[in-house]
């Protein structure tokens, strides 16, 4: 059946996250961006919400709650509504942990999951993107060559979030025609982590480049062990999650512009009374809503174990295009004030264009 109904529990968690975002994230966002810093205090605060640990099975020290990609989409939209950079930092650990839960061998789970159930913020990171123009997640240049029981990884990655503090990287590489994910510790021999990259937006979220110069890893590093894992699904999940982040961002823009346009006067009346502005706002609303349903559809496909590549692709591409459109026109609604850093729309504009090319950094 087709249904858009939130469960009571989902409504509760949505409201709680909306409050958290408004109180703990929105006020931090501008300064974190200007100073390009991610405060430990925030990570600690967000860690206490238990976003990651509660969904890890009890046997590894987690809360053992059933994971619902749909519920996680609802949560992530609210966090991103607070701030997209901080939201990604908040849920980045889940990407790594969920990948292990979904695709890892028993040994891999035992080795890595307990660290995500402790009192302190702990994270791994996804090393997917590669330097250079026209990056395509389906055409990776990083390779894994078998050597003995293990593998030798060679290549370069960029835009690896939280490369400064991730304990391990999930390095996506071509392995003899297939694509695999390899769990690589940050101190692996031959692995070089770059200085923090400087990006257009999401400046509160440190990202790093990795150089993999013949990094030798054992057989236990291959996610899923001898069987490998469904990397495609892992990336689809990550793209669907990024779509949700963009929905939250777009909604933030719209909700900022509406009262602004009602308040700001020109030619003797609020600019919202001009069709040119009112129609822009209507169009923003149309696209925020439509983007959300595409993202929910992908999340629902994930939840039910259905094929998700196409629906995640659509959700990601649509949200990418429309969140850029919404943020760009948010700037336009504010006019000169949209261009200065006193208003958050300037920040959201940069976030939008940045998120729209990242291909995946979080998970549902």
């Amino acid at each position: 059946m087709i249904s858009f109904e939130l469960t009571e529990e989902q409504e509760l968690v949505r409201d709680a996250m909306r409050n958290f975002a408004a109180e703990a994230m929105r006020p931090l966002a501008r300064e974190c961006d200007e100073t390009e810093s991610l405060p430990d205090a925030f990570l600690h605060q967000v860690w206490e919400l238990g976003l990651t640990s509660t969904q890890i099975p009890e046997v590894y020290g987690g809360g053992g709650e059933e994971r619902s990609p749909v519920t996680n989409a609802i949560v992530l939209e609210e966090l991103a509504h607070g701030d997209a950079a901080l939201a990604i930092a908040a849920v980045a650990p889940s990407l790594f942990a969920n990948a292990l839960v979904d695709h890892g061998t028993e040994e891999q789970k035992q080795a890595h999951l307990p660290a995500f159930c402790g009192d302190a913020y702990h994270t791994g990171s996804l090393a997917l993107i590669e330097p250079g123009a026209l990056f395509d997640p389906r055409r990776l240049r990083t390779v894994a060559e078998p050597k003995g029981q293990g593998f030798v990884l060679s290549g370069a990655k960029s835009f690896v979030p939280l490369g400064d503090r991730a304990s391990h990287f999930l390095v996506i590489a071509r392995n003899n025609g297939d694509t695999d994910a390899f769990i690589v510790p940050r101190d692996a021999r031959g692995l070089r982590i770059s200085e923090t990259e400087k990006n257009l937006g999401l400046r509160a979220l440190p990202t790093h480049g990795l150089e993999l110069e013949r990094v030798e890893v054992g057989p236990e590093s291959r996610l899923g062990g001898n069987d490998g894992c469904n990397v495609r699904r892992l990336l689809d999940n990550s793209r669907a999650a990024l779509a949700v982040v963009m929905v939250g961002l777009s909604r933030a823009v719209l909700e900022y512009c509406v009262p602004y346009a009602k308040d700001r006067e020109a030619f003797d009346e609020p600019i919202a009374k001009k069709q040119a502005i009112a129609f822009l706002l209507a169009e923003m609303h149309i696209e925020v809503e439509s983007s959300r349903w595409l993202a929910w559809q992908a999340a629902s496909h994930l939840e039910k174990g259905h094929a998700v590549t196409r629906s995640a692709h659509m959700a990601y591409r649509y949200a990418s295009e429309k969140s850029m459109w919404v943020a760009d026109n948010g700037v336009q609604v504010l006019g000169g004030h949209g261009f200065i850093r006193e208003h958050p729309v300037e920040l959201w504009f940069r976030h939008a264009r940045t998120l729209g090319v990242l291909e995946g950094t979080v998970a549902l």
Binding site: S3, K273, I286, L294, H313, R317
Partner: protein
């Protein structure tokens, strides 16, 4: 029920049936496009064995697993017009007036007239999108307990073939919009004349009529919803009339989307025949130009469809869906234009040949952003809701 985007067995069964019928209708699509003066038969010979597509009551409904009536109706509309918009209109039940009846009629009215194909008549020669300018009058003759209707209506979709019409008329011109009520007039009522049939860009087999009502008398109980009171305070009365739009707008969106989906399916097939590879999950940079464009258009379709289902789902839950109905119509109105234009451009010269239906779908779909309130009107409605503005605040 929790968020869900999958179809039940019943849902799929209904839609399968609709699609099969649609494909039959499609066989007649070109003929009736080129012979707009003829009407397609009520029952196409090959489709005689099908249940009427919209008779979902024929299928046992389990509210725990099956999609609700508005949602499945929208999906069925997509499926039917995917077959053919115009020829589909011959298969009863789907008139826009029926959506109005089901949104605003009393239970008894729904029962009584549910079996008729009903057109919806709003526009008048001078009024366009402005319902407050309705000149058509309905005067209650207490003596005979009848309403007396006088006036003209234009652009009445399916106006020639419908069994009856739901029309807007004012019972009190001084009350402005609050005086407008919906009435049902059956064909054959004295004083009700079909005056003219339009020649159109598209949906040519689906006739568009002009009506003239001259001292046309209908029973008092033909007032839709039976609410005779004119609420001059607030716009409560008119809202009742507008409510009829809350299902017609998403249904119009669905009708357009069915056409767009036909265009996409045809184009996908031709692209694949020509060796174009559609790949999902990667960057656009590795795709060919037509593949990238096609996937964008397909995505636009999907977004529009979900916005439409959302508006319908709210209706099914009995929740307000005024904004969402306009969102669905506004979204689909532009989406279907872009999709059909883009499909033709992708395929090149073959796209404009009348040997294929693609050029017809471009023409057919163009009405979506016009009737039942243009895209501009929908955006006004959305903006007012968003801003908390009245009609006076935002014109």
């Amino acid at each position: 029920m929790p968020i869900d985007f999958t179809l039940s067995e019943r849902d799929r069964g209904i839609l399968q049936n609709v699609r099969e019928e649609g494909l039959i209708c499609r066989n007649y699509a070109r003929y009736y496009d080129e012979h707009e003066e003829e009407f397609a038969p009520d029952v196409l010979p090959e489709a005689a064995t099908f249940e009427p597509s919209f008779d979902v009551s024929a299928h046992p409904y389990d509210k725990r697993v099956d999609s609700g009536l508005p949602v499945i109706s929208a999906l069925a509309s997509i499926g039917s017009t995917w077959g053919d918009y115009s020829v589909r209109m011959r298969r009863g039940g789907g008139g826009l007036g029926n959506a109005a009846l089901s949104a605003a009629g009393t239970d008894e009215q729904k029962k009584k007239w549910g079996g008729l194909t009903l057109a919806m008549a709003i526009t008048e020669p001078g009024c366009g999108s402005d319902p407050s300018k309705v000149q058509c009058t309905a005067v209650l003759d207490e003596a005979s307990d009848e309403w007396v209707i006088d006036g003209e209506k234009i652009f009445v979709t399916t106006g020639c073939r419908a069994d009856g019409v739901i029309l807007w008329a004012t019972v009190d011109k001084s009350a402005g919009r609050a005086g407008i009520k919906s009435f049902l007039v059956e064909k054959g009522t004295p004083g009700f004349v079909v005056a003219h049939k339009e020649k159109k860009l598209g949906i040519r087999a689906d006739d568009t009529a002009a009506y003239v009502f001259t001292e046309c008398r209908i029973p008092r109980e033909n007032l839709l919803g039976l609410n005779e009171e004119v609420q001059t305070k607030g716009s409560g009365g008119f809202r009742g009339v507008m409510k009829t739009f809350n299902m017609t707008r998403p249904m119009v969106a669905a009708i357009g989307l069915g056409i767009a989906e036909a265009a996409l399916d045809f184009t996908r097939e031709e692209l694949e025949k020509a060796g174009v590879v559609l790949e999902y999950g990667g960057s656009e940079s590795s795709l060919s130009a037509p593949a990238a464009r096609f996937i964008r258009l397909e995505t636009l379709f999907e977004a529009s469809k979900l916005a439409t289902l959302r508006a319908c789902w709210l209706a099914g839950e009995g929740q307000p869906n005024n904004t969402e109905s306009s969102v669905s119509k506004a979204h689909a109105g532009t989406a279907v234009r872009e999709i059909c234009q883009g499909c033709i451009e992708m395929l090149g010269p073959m796209g404009i040949s009348r040997e294929h239906l693609l050029e017809k779908w471009l023409r057919d779909c163009r009405i979506t952003d016009i009737y039942e309130g243009t895209g501009q009107i929908q955006r006004l409605i959305i903006a007012r809701d968003l801003l908390g503005y009245t009609r006076a605040d935002l014109k």
